[in-house]
């Protein structure tokens, strides 16, 4: 997202993209209706990735007695973040921070002040720009929900959402995409390898460590109650990711098209290698394995997707499938951390890896689109590492505060008997299925 939209300009004209101005000057821009059409579509696709896609993906993985609780997380997070975004989120992330621009966007656009029907930013309606970004702000905490699934109190989820969005998501988003210091430094995260994936993965790991394991872990098999849902969710994620990465070009041009193709190839690659890992090591390939490999491929290619070619995407995906497979194995079977739905080993590890590789596969020799002037592969990888480490640090600290706040205010976990009974009945007076009649 960064370089083509708000940042370095050297490359953008070479790509035949729009001339993209700095936020402050946005009002003078002309609306590119084709880009606007594509970005509205992308916004719909990314919202779709959270509800219903992620809700299905996660919902299918938990036991039947907790399916609604997990889906509720995704939904409530969507609502809460949307309201906060309107009140201050958009402004803090994408407002004009003036002298403090390196750190935050200020409150000048709180309540979307000044963002009228005719406002244009980066060539598209500013409302569309804001909506597209909002969907990213929604899905990131929703991804974290995989780490605390099957044992958290619903009120704790709400508190976590508010605190974490404010302390962790908004600063990182501004620094990387809103004109903040990481962006200025040349950190490249096309569609959220750091802001979304590392961030969510680390927060989920923090949650898992703070909350402790589910009753029965690691001996009991917590079998997915409905792998067909997980599959459907995964398929929708794949499709939605065209909007996630393709939309991050903020244009309906070749950059968007290339990002989609690289994204697609990474998904295919990650799926195949995870599948092969299982085939070799367990004798059989599984549906859960192939779709998890897909997510690994997609999460890993995300930061790179707008800077590389399709072959680069494929290779990143192939590596991601292997790497995240092992990471999952280690977290679950060696470290015995109960990150319920494996958010860290898939999104966190994939995100870190992809953020670094972004500096590598941008090389023209590897089919990439090249570096900004004066930048070498080594220097770019260095900057990428700074971005990744920053994200990890902020996410660990902020997540700890957010979950601690929830713990103090309402308690983090349900008690053991409630956990056994299932969160759906205990917290929501509902059951997912009543198939008897």
């Amino acid at each position: 997202m960064t370089i083509f939209r708000n940042g370095g300009v050297a490359l953008s004209s070479a790509l035949g993209g729009l001339a993209l101005a700095w936020p402050g000057a946005a009002q003078a821009e002309e609306l590119n209706q084709a880009a606007n059409a594509w970005m509205m579509t992308s916004t719909a696709l990314v919202l779709f990735m959270n509800i219903p896609a992620l809700a299905l993906f996660y919902g299918g993985l938990v036991r039947a007695k907790n399916v609604l609780s997990v889906m509720m997380h995704c939904f409530a997070i969507t609502c809460v973040i949307s309201v906060l975004w309107l009140i201050y989120g958009y402004s803090v992330a994408f407002g004009d921070g003036g002298t403090q621009q390196a750190l935050w966007g200020g409150l000048g656009k709180a309540f979307h002040a000044g963002v009228g029907v005719e406002a244009v930013k980066s060539g598209i309606s500013e409302t569309v720009y804001s909506m597209f970004q909002l969907t990213f702000a929604i899905i990131t905490p929703a991804l974290v929900a995989g780490g605390f699934a099957e044992r958290i109190r619903f009120s704790a989820v709400l508190i976590f959402t508010v605190v974490w969005f404010t302390l962790v998501y908004l600063p990182l988003c501004h620094w990387v995409w809103g004109g903040g210091w990481l962006q200025t430094m040349g950190f490249n995260d096309f569609a959220g390898g750091s802001v979304v994936h590392i961030n969510a993965g680390v927060a989920a790991l923090t949650a898992a460590v703070m909350m402790g394991r589910r009753k029965g872990f690691p001996h009991t098999a917590f079998l997915p109650h409905n792998l067909t849902f997980t599959y459907i969710g995964a398929a929708m994620l794949w499709v939605g990711w065209f909007g996630f990465n393709g939309g991050s070009a903020v244009a309906a041009n070749g950059n968007a098209g290339m990002a989609i193709m690289a994204t697609h190839m990474a998904a295919a690659g990650g799926s195949l290698t995870w599948m092969l890992m299982e085939w070799v090591r367990h004798g059989k390939p599984s549906v859960l394995g192939i779709v998890t490999g897909m997510v690994a491929g997609l999460g890993t290619v995300t930061p790179a997707s707008g800077f590389i070619g399709p072959l680069g995407g494929l290779i990143i995906g192939l590596m991601a499938g292997v790497l995240c497979y092992w990471a999952t194995h280690i977290i679950k079977r060696k470290l015995f951390i109960d990150d319920s739905l494996d958010v860290f080993p898939v999104h966190g590890v994939g995100g870190i890896f992809g953020t670094l590789l972004t500096g590598v596969f941008a090389a023209p020799a590897l089919g990439g689109l090249g570096y900004a002037e004066g930048v070498t592969m080594a220097s770019q990888v260095g900057v990428q590492a700074i971005g990744a480490v920053t994200t990890i640090g902020v996410s660990v600290a902020g997540s700890w505060v957010a979950f601690k706040a929830a713990d103090l205010l309402t308690g983090l976990r349900v008690n053991l008997e409630q956990e056994t009974e299932g969160l759906d009945l205990v917290l929501h007076d509902e059951r997912g299925y009543n198939l008897e009649y």
Binding site: A221, L223, H282, L288, Y325, K332, D342
Partner: protein, 112 residues
């Protein structure tokens, strides 16, 4: 009268039903259950981890028969449900004191 409970492998239902029908049984009731026994459950993969699933899907057939048909019914089920591999299941026979047909209110072996 006897009340026969047979735990069988699910895919043997058709054959068992056919065998019983040939014998003259005109009704039975079938329930899905999960069985735990000598047969080892299957392995399920979960993202690289393997889990042993102990309970296996089985079908329970409940069949009330007149005294004199009981042995033949047991034999018929036994033959039809057998694969010869572990986990084929069990047959339990109990005494049935009375049986009624709801529709008519009749009772006795003739309602079976």
């Amino acid at each position: 009268m006897k009340f026969i409970i047979a735990i069988i492998k699910p895919f043997k239902l058709d054959e068992v039903r056919r065998a019983l029908t040939i014998l003259g049984a005109r009704g039975m009731t079938v329930t899905e259950t999960r069985g735990f026994g000598r047969q080892k459950g299957h392995t399920e993969l979960y993202r690289g981890a393997e889990y042993q699933v102990d309970f296996l899907p089985k079908l329970k057939i409940e069949l009330a028969v007149p005294e004199e048909l009981a042995d033949q019914a047991v034999a018929a089920i036994m033959e039809a449900a057998r694969t010869g591999r572990i986990g084929d299941g069990k047959i339990f026979v109990m005494n049935l004191e009375s049986a009624y047909r709801i529709r008519t209110g009749e009772s006795g072996p003739e309602v079976l």
